[in-house]
Amino acid sequence: MQTSDLIRILPEIILAVAGIVVMLLGAFQKQNAGRMHPAIALLGLLGAAGAIAYQYPWRSLDPAFGGMLELDAFSAFFHILFFLVAALVVLSSSEYVAQERLASGEYHALLLFATMGMGLMASSNDLIMIFIGLEISSLASYILVGFRRGVATSSESSLKYFLLGSFATAFLLYGIALMFGATGATNLTEIHLALQAEQNTVTAMASPQLTPLVGPVPTALVGLSIALLFVGFAFKVSAVPFQIWTPDVYQGAPTPVTAFLSTGSKAAAFAVFLRVFMVALEGSAQDWVWLLWVSGLLSMVLGNLAALLQTNIKRMLAYSSIAHAGYILVAFTAHSEEGVAAVMFYLAAYALMNIGAFAVVSHFGNRGERYVEMEHYAGLGYRAPLLAASMTVFLLSLIGIPLTGGFFGKFYIFRAALHADLVWLTVLGVLNSAIAAYYYLRVIVFMYMHPAAEQIPVERVRPAMGFVLIFSMAATFLLGIFPQAVLDFASQAAALLLENLGNGVL
């Protein structure tokens, strides 16, 4: 272990330390600690972001821990995204934590740990590290989902998330084990080389008595392994047919946590998904592209159709998040540099608009999340014009109306897909995105075109929440009007990710 290795994981170290500090604070300081927690959490996130920035430019020529971690532009992009998401969630949950009397120390500590796990996922270039990062972030989010301990729905969704999540992790692990068995490697780049050479990596270190084991890669094992890996990742990104947990978990979880799961965790899962499939399994693309094709289409269709029927706004957003996973899979199916960049850009745009939307839902939900049905939103446009206006912006962006980040996200996705000649998938994709407009518009209809049925109190927006709303709105517009910078970042990262592959840099 060298200093450079430590610098590579400095962001994670900072987050872990900040998390522990936040947790211990509660033990030593009884009163008023609640106000310190978010501050320390934000400080930790800032420090971690600084540690990422310090390593600019992000090249992957010097991987850490014997190739286990790579802080390339790809992972830097996701790190920054996670930190942003976590910071916005911390800010937007300050009201919520106070209102629901949640244990503030543990809450923020778990958020930081989950973020740390996601960071590890984004930079890991080894199946072992991927598993560890995934577990760190998953375990923390299982608990976060059940954080409203006294509420049955919250514990219920926590249990569902936990059971199905670990079930999927088990599949993923089995896939990893089989991949290891087929190629003799857990490092993604080595797996890539082994699959390319159709020869396991034993040759490199074979001692005489092992020579019989040196041999070709068993294709059946690889195929099975790809299928299992796909199951694991598809579950994490909530793609059909492994989406079953999503609505229940998103509905029962505390709203800020839902925001976190639907943006941060999803992005982390896609980061790993991309890295594993585009780096390690790139050579056998013909084996998995059709899986993505089918799953992407089904996610769009089922997600949108189910969302049409929802009355609970959190559940509606959950189904919409399934549909959005579908759009992202469309770009993924293109399995090109453009496709990877489109996925990255979309995840960023989606994260910002979705956090904004959930922030509004969380604020408006009031104590005990009482007001989360669509009809509660009736007349909101006139009782809380600014809140409703920001919600409208986020919903329009989710629809994909131009001048918002959501539009450019979709545009890049469909551009990448069309460029890869996925004409039918693209056509079905755009039609889906048009149908999806209906259920987003329904919320707008309730807010502006229905008179309020009952007098629902709307609390004053606190500064932290106000900042989140303004920031996400500004960012949504920025990504919609001047997307150049983020897009450049994404496409350079994608280029770098795939370029190293061609050179066989280990």
């Binding site: 329009l396 131009p402 545009f411 469909f414 551009r415 069309l418 502006y448 001047f482 150049q484």
Partner: protein, 542 residues
């Protein structure tokens, strides 16, 4: 002054937006302040657009007032604006109708005034952008963004079934436009593979050579978007709902400008970018058939309406059928008539909706049977209605006649059956409009509620008078308008039917008429030679 001259389009485009932002910061309680601000903005928007008409040089075939700034270099999208004859007329129509629409809502809108004007002004910027932009990507942005304010206008200030109408409008148009986006992307990729340049530049995309098969696919992707917007039969069902439920200003804008975006799309994109598909017999027959169905069906349905506004809405379907008929005759007469008729339709149908709006504001009903004998109490109103109705049904000396006549000429040139069928549309128009007029304006004034109706006030007159003046101008002296259209029509013809001018040297927009120096080699030899000489002359005229 030169700065204004160089950036006039940007100024025209963003004045409404600036006004909208200004109004957002006005206090809600100050209703008259909001009204004045909106009206002044719209009037200013109209004023700055007037110089366009005088500065425009109709002998130049290229786009004028061009502005170009890089926007998203990595995909090749630019902020680029420019006008040719077609878009010039539509931009002017938009600024006039935009102002009139805002003026017409002074008293009819009393709730949520501020938001209303903000949305109307945003809509104005969106529409202007659609007509001005020279970048296909930017075009799409404006095209879609415009949906949002229109959606709110219908949904918040609309009539009884506003929610249904608003969502139907939004979803219909959205479905169409996302398919168009794919078409745009297809053209973009084709251009990139042929020239190596990633661009959405409309001029560049108009010079592609694409295999006919592919052209047909892209044509149908565009077709869905444009046909829904026009709307062509059978995509028209959103139109009556949206029109009937929208507030008056919304209807005026919708009929006057929004529908033109569809026909503009055909003229600007489908024809020049996909010439082989557009002139493909299958496509032409399909388009002409749909247009003729729209003309006759729209007329028949109008005849049966009991609701005044719905009648006007269906008459729009019929009139828009004329425009698409003209465009797809693919000859200079049809094309120029089709383009001019867009302006005419904007003027006369816009005015008809104002007429309906004025009476609706007084009586809060649009049932035709509720009215009768109005000419006794509202003589000025009745007179203006008469002029507007005549302009709409195509009486000579008024604008509708010119457009329809030229379109019919074009249709006759291709196939007399088309023209014959289209003429029934004019007859139907005369029937339903005159019958409407008779039922509402003449007869005994037997409904007591109508006895005390007030005639038009000054503001209401001012909304109608400019349109009536324009109607007479185009009806009596259309020459300047045709001159403006000559060059653009010629360019389209050279793309769609390159051999046409060689065979018809006297046709409208023929290069020979523009450049006397180039001798027309009229009696041609073979088609190939004709193409060559046409190209040569086109080059010379530039």
């Amino acid at each position: 002054m030169t700065w204004i001259h160089d950036h006039i389009l940007t100024v025209v485009l963003f004045i409404p937006l600036a006004g909208a932002i200004l109004i957002m910061f006005l206090p809600k309680e100050n209703k008259n302040g909001v009204r004045w601000a909106a009206n002044l903005t719209a009037f200013l928007g109209f004023l700055v657009s007037v110089p366009l008409f005088f500065w425009f040089d109709s002998s130049v075939g290229e786009f004028q007032f061009v502005e170009k700034v890089e926007w998203i270099p990595s995909i090749g999208a630019n902020y680029s604006l420019g006008l040719d004859g077609i878009s010039l007329l539509l931009v002017l129509l938009t600024t006039i109708l935009g102002f009139i629409a805002i003026l017409s809502s002074w008293t009819s809108i009393n709730e949520r005034l501020k938001e209303y004007y903000v949305f109307l002004l945003l809509l104005q910027t969106g529409m202007l952008g659609v007509f001005m932009t020279l970048d296909f990507f930017l075009f799409y942005v404006f095209w879609e963004v415009m949906l949002v304010p229109m959606y709110f206008l219908i949904g918040i200030w609309g009539g009884a079934r506003k929610l249904y109408a608003a969502i139907k409008f939004f979803l219909y148009t959205l479905v169409g436009s996302v398919l168009m986006l794919l078409g745009i992307l297809a053209l973009y990729f084709i251009n990139r593979s042929q020239t190596g340049v990633a661009t959405f530049d409309i001029v560049a995309l108009q010079n592609l050579n694409i295999p006919v098969n592919l052209q047909l696919w892209i044509f149908f992707a565009f077709f869905v978007a444009f046909a829904i917007k026009v709307p062509m039969f059978p995509f028209h069902t959103w139109l009556p709902d949206a029109h009937v439920e929208a507030p008056t200003a919304g209807s005026v804008i919708l009929a006057g400008v929004l529908l033109k975006m569809g026909t503009y799309g055909f003229v600007r994109f489908s024809l020049p970018m996909l010439p082989d598909a557009s002139s493909h017999p299958m496509v032409v027959n399909l388009m002409i058939t749909l247009s003729l169905i729209a003309i006759i069906y729209g007329g028949l349905v109008s005849l049966m309406q009991k609701d005044w506004k719905k009648l006007v809405a269906y008459s729009s379907v019929s009139h828009m059928g004329f425009i698409t008929l003209g465009i797809f005759t693919l000859n200079p007469n049809g094309l120029s008539g089709g383009i001019l008729q867009q302006i005419n339709h904007g003027i006369s149908t816009g005015a008809l909706f104002l007429i309906v709006g004025i009476i609706y504001e007084r009586r809060h009903t649009r049932e035709i049977s509720e009215f009768g004998g109005l000419s006794n109490v509202m003589p000025v109103y009745a007179t203006m209605f008469l002029i507007v109705a005549m302009s709409s049904l195509g009486l000579p000396t008024l604008n509708g006649f010119i457009g329809e006549f030229v379109i019919l000429q074009g249709a006759f040139e291709e196939n007399w059956v088309w023209a014959a069928l289209a003429v029934t549309g004019i007859i139907l128009a005369a029937a339903y409009l005159l019958w409407l007029y008779q039922r509402t304006m003449f007869g005994p004034l037997d409904n007591p509620k109508n006895k005390n109706l007030k005639d038009l006030n000054f503001r209401e007159m001012m909304t109608l008078v400019p349109l009536i003046i324009l109607a007479f101008w185009i009806g009596l002296y259309p020459k300047p308008f045709f001159r403006i259209l000559e060059q653009p029509v010629q360019k389209i013809m050279e793309r769609v039917r390159p051999a046409y001018y060689a065979a018809h040297p006297d046709a409208f927009g023929a290069p020979a008429r523009l450049n006397a120096a180039a001798q027309p080699s009229a009696s041609l030899e073979t088609e190939a030679a004709a193409v060559r000489s046409a190209e040569k002359r086109a080059g010379a005229s530039r």
